[in-house]
């Protein structure tokens, strides 16, 4: 039934739903059902550290928490800017504030 298979090629929205839910459910549970709620603070601090060395756009940063088997994987995805940053010595000199 190749003719009908043609219609099945659309992206599978169910798997998208599941991925989105696994993240949100895991994130919300860290606050309410298990363990301390340090994930948002951890995110902020990690980003602060990276921002010290690299100009990053917050819109290009994604933080995911995945569960595989018994362990949780914190995935931090940062898109670095296209233009290379200025050399380190000058950067440290210019950062005064």
């Amino acid at each position: 039934m190749a003719f009908f298979d043609y219609f099945k090629r659309a992206p599978k929205s169910a798997s998208l739903a599941k991925d989105r839910l696994s993240i949100i459910v895991a994130r919300e549970r860290t606050g309410s059902r298990s363990g301390p709620d340090y994930l948002p603070a951890l995110q902020q601090e990690l980003l602060a550290v990276i921002a010290r060395y690299e100009t990053i756009d917050l819109a290009n940063v994604t933080v995911n928490l995945d569960k595989s088997g018994g362990c949780e994987v914190l995935e931090l995805n940062i898109v670095l800017p296209d233009t290379p940053p200025p050399p380190p010595p000058r950067l440290s000199a210019s950062v005064s504030a």
């Binding site: 599978k12 739903a17 059902r33």
Partner: protein, 269 residues
């Protein structure tokens, strides 16, 4: 021995009242004295779904405020022996419910020999929903295979573990069951709907049953007659399975796989 069972979900419109009506009816049909309490004060609907809206004289809030006796407010179902409904008030708001009053009435229902006390929760996680779950021994979490419903169910599971009498007194945890409603095996097969496996994995509670998406639900609420009473429909079969499973019988899960359809059905269905 009485069991207090809350039917809850967080999200509205997923089938809590339909499920309360069908499960209460099904359990009563098995000879267990059962009452369904509508906790949706201000937006009562269980009476309508069960077809006894014209027989409501006194309600839950009247009894809490000692304006009527419990026996005066209980409506005996005309179709099924052992089945009673305690309607919500339509004129008050959820603040009319307080733990002392609700606790007193549940205790009184137990004294009257009710074996199953089904608490139909309002949507949301505010006072009405918290009162419905507060005295529960068990919870049936009604969920649609849809992102907002699954997220809300997870939130409700958190509340069940924290904001109930059992949690506060340090008693045994409330037993939770997942009821997946409005399920479409065809959409799941096409990858357009979360599967029962996906939802189980996300929520991590045992599956009580799957209720297929069906016109029979609307038709039965139109008539004010719970779907379970017309055994010819798939929804009735699904709810019957749920009731038997809940009462401890082994029943294989159905309505998870797409039914075999004719070529004609596949082409034009």
């Amino acid at each position: 021995m009485s069991k207090v069972v809350v039917i809850t979900s967080g999200k509205g419109g997923v089938g809590k009242t339909t499920t309360s009506a069908n499960i209460a009816t099904g359990i009563a049909q098995q000879g267990k004295k059962t009452v369904a309490i509508d906790f949706d004060v201000g937006l009562r609907n269980l009476d309508l779904v069960m077809g006894c809206e014209r027989r409501v004289v006194y309600d839950f809030v009247n009894v809490i405020r000692n304006e009527a006796k419990l026996q005066q407010a209980l409506i005996k179902d005309k179709r099924v022996e052992n089945l009673y409904i305690l309607p919500a008030s339509q004129t008050r708001d959820k603040d009319a419910l307080d733990p002392e009053g609700v606790g007193r009435i549940i205790e009184e229902l137990k004294q009257m020999g009710f074996e199953y006390i089904i608490c139909d929760s309002p949507a949301g996680i505010e006072k009405g929903a918290q009162m419905a779950m507060y005295f529960a021994d068990e919870a049936i979490v009604v969920t649609n295979p849809e992102v907002s419903s699954v997220r809300d169910s997870d939130r409700v599971l958190g509340l069940l573990a924290a904001k109930t009498s059992r949690a506060e007194m340090g008693g045994p945890a409330i037993r939770t069951h997942l009821l997946l409603t409005r399920y479409s095996p065809l959409m799941v097969k096409r990858g357009e709907m979360l599967s029962v496996g996906d939802v189980l994995e996300l929520l991590g509670i045992p599956l009580l049953g799957v209720i297929p998406e069906s016109k029979a639900v609307l038709q039965s609420s139109n008539k004010g007659s719970p779907a379970i009473l017309d055994e010819t429909t798939d929804v009735a079969q699904a709810y019957l399975d749920v009731v038997f499973r809940y009462l401890g019988q082994e029943r294989q899960h159905r309505f998870i796989e797409e039914e075999k359809r004719s070529l004609f059905g596949r082409l034009f269905g």
